[in-house]
C-alpha cells in the first residue's frame, strides 16, 4: 500500500502545471486590506448618518460632555470595530501574520474599561436614566440586529479572499460587527452606564462573536479548505 502511494509519477506535477497554465485567465487582484476595510466602514458610516439624521448629534454630545466616560467607551467601540475589521481583512490574505489578531486588543480594553468605569460613577449622565430591564433588552436587540447584516457583509467580502485561519478570522468579524453596532447604538442610547445595561451589551457582543465563530468560521473554512 505504502509502496503504491510512494511511487509518484515524476511527470504528474508537470502535467498539472501545464493543465493549470492552459486554464489561466487574467484575475482582478484583491485590493489591500486597509482599502477593503474602508469599504466596509463606509456602509457603517452610511447607517451612522441615517441615525444622526433621525436622532441628531446634540443629545449624544450633551451626554458625552456630562459624562466623558460614555464618550471614551463610544470611541473605544468605534476603534475596536475599525481594528477588528482591518485584522479580519489582513488575516484573510495568505502569508499575513496571525499577530494581526492582537490589533483590536487596545481599543477593546478602552471600550470595556470606560464602560466599566461608567458604572462606578456617582451621578447620572445628562438626559439619560438608568435603563429598565426591557429597555436594556432593546439594547440587546439593537446590537444583534445591526450585527447580523454587518457580519454577513464582512463574510461575503472575506470569501473573495482566502482565510487560512477561518475561526480566528470569524472571531474578528464578530468583534468588528458587534463593536460597530455598539458604536451606532451610542448615537441613540439615552441610558446611563449601569451594570444591567452593560451586562446586556456584553451579552450581545458575546453572542455575536460566538455565532460568528461557529457559523462564520464554517462558511470561511469551506472556502479556504476547498483545494479544487
Amino acid at each position: 500500500m505504502e509502496t503504491t502511494r510512494a511511487m509518484a509519477d515524476p511527470h504528474a506535477h508537470d502535467r498539472l502545471i501545464a493543465t493549470l497554465g492552459a486554464e489561466l485567465a487574467p484575475v482582478r487582484r484583491l485590493r489591500p486590506p486597509w482599502l477593503r476595510t474602508l469599504g466596509w466602514l463606509a456602509v457603517v458610516a452610511i447607517i451612522a448618518v441615517a441615525l444622526f439624521a433621525r436622532y441628531g448629534v446634540a443629545p449624544m454630545l450633551a451626554r458625552w460632555a456630562g459624562a466623558p466616560d460614555l464618550g471614551w467607551a463610544g470611541l473605544g467601540a468605534a476603534l475596536t470595530a475599525i481594528a477588528a475589521a482591518w485584522a479580519a481583512f489582513a488575516l484573510a490574505v495568505p502569508g499575513r501574520r496571525t499577530a494581526w489578531a492582537w490589533l483590536p486588543l487596545a481599543p477593546a480594553l478602552l471600550w470595556i474599561g470606560a464602560s466599566g468605569l461608567g458604572c462606578l460613577r456617582g451621578w447620572i449622565a445628562p438626559a439619560t436614566h438608568v435603563a429598565s430591564a426591557p429597555e436594556a433588552g432593546d439594547c440587546l436587540f439593537f446590537i444583534i440586529g445591526f450585527s447580523v447584516p454587518l457580519s454577513v457583509l464582512l463574510i461575503a467580502l472575506l470569501r473573495r479572499a482566502c482565510p487560512l485561519r477561518p475561526v480566528l478570522t470569524a472571531v474578528m468579524v464578530g468583534l468588528a460587527s458587534a463593536a460597530a453596532s455598539a458604536s451606532l447604538l451610542e448615537i441613540c442610547h439615552a441610558f446611563d452606564a449601569a451594570a444591567t445595561d452593560l451586562a446586556m451589551h456584553a451579552l450581545a457582543v458575546g453572542a455575536v462573536v460566538a455565532a460568528n465563530a461557529a457559523l462564520g468560521g464554517r462558511l470561511l473554512s469551506r472556502e479556504a479548505g476547498r483545494a479544487t
Partner: protein
C-alpha cells in the same frame, strides 16, 4: 489608527521562511533579481494572464512546497499529494497575491495549510486501517466463500473504497468512471475545471489500486 504607521504594518507582516531571501519582493526586471523576486514578478505577470510566467513560477514553487511540507512533518509518500493540492490552491486563489509582498511567504502559508490537511487525512486513514485489520482478522477465509459471493464482496469492497475517497476524488470517479461522462460534461455538472477532474481521477485510481491490491 493612531500609532499604527505604515512601517509598523510592514514589521507586523514580515514573516519570511528560512529559505526565503530577506528582501521583500518587489516586481522589477526579472533578469537581474534574486530567485524570490523573480518568482514574485512571474506571479504578478501570471495574474495578468501570462501563461509562460505562470508555468515557470509554478514549476519553481514545487521545491518550496516540498520544503514546507517536510518541515510540517509530512511523510515522503505524501509529499506529492501536498504539492498537487497546493498547486491547485495557488490556481484558485492567485488573485490574493500582492506583488508588493513576499511571494515565498504567500506560498508558504498556502503550502503549510495544505500540509496540515494532508497530515489530518493520513491520521484519519491510519485510524481506519487499524479498524480494517480487525475486520480482516474476524472475516471468514476467502476460500470458504463461493465465487458468486466473492464477486459481490469485491464489488462491495470497491464501493466502500470509493466511498472512503475524499469528496473531490469520489466525485471524479463517479462522474467519469461510473457514469462515463465526458470530461466536459462532468465539468459542467460538477462546476469543477476539467484539469481538476483529471487530477482527481488520476489520484483516485491510484488510491483505489493501493486499497484493493494492497489489501489483497
Amino acid at each position: 489608527m493612531p500609532g499604527l504607521t505604515a512601517p509598523g504594518v510592514m514589521v507586523l507582516d514580515e514573516r519570511f521562511p528560512s529559505w526565503a531571501s530577506i528582501d521583500p519582493a518587489v516586481p522589477a526586471d526579472p533578469a537581474s533579481e534574486t530567485p524570490e523576486r523573480r518568482r514574485a514578478a512571474w506571479m504578478a505577470a501570471a495574474q495578468a494572464g501570462d501563461r509562460r510566467a505562470y508555468e515557470r513560477v509554478l514549476a519553481d514553487s514545487v521545491a518550496l512546497i516540498r520544503a514546507v511540507a517536510r518541515r510540517q512533518g509530512v511523510g515522503h509518500d505524501q509529499l506529492d499529494d501536498v504539492v498537487q493540492e497546493t498547486l491547485l490552491t495557488i490556481h484558485r486563489v492567485r488573485h490574493t497575491y500582492d506583488p508588493a509582498r513576499s511571494y515565498d511567504a504567500w506560498l508558504a502559508a498556502l503550502a503549510g495549510r495544505r500540509a496540515i490537511d494532508g497530515l489530518r487525512r493520513s491520521g484519519r486513514q491510519a485510524r481506519r486501517e487499524v479498524g480494517d485489520e480487525v475486520a480482516v482478522a474476524l472475516h471468514p477465509d476467502e476460500h470458504d466463500a463461493s465465487a458468486e459471493s466473492e464477486r459481490t464482496q469485491q464489488a462491495r469492497r470497491l464501493r466502500a473504497a470509493i466511498d472512503e475517497l475524499p469528496p473531490g476524488q469520489r466525485e471524479a470517479v463517479e462522474q467519469l468512471g461510473l457514469k462515463e461522462l465526458s470530461l466536459e460534461e462532468a465539468a459542467a455538472r460538477t462546476g469543477r475545471s476539467t484539469g481538476a477532474l483529471k487530477v482527481n481521477l488520476h489520484r483516485a485510481l491510484k488510491a483505489l489500486r493501493g486499497r484493493i491490491h494492497g489489501d489483497d
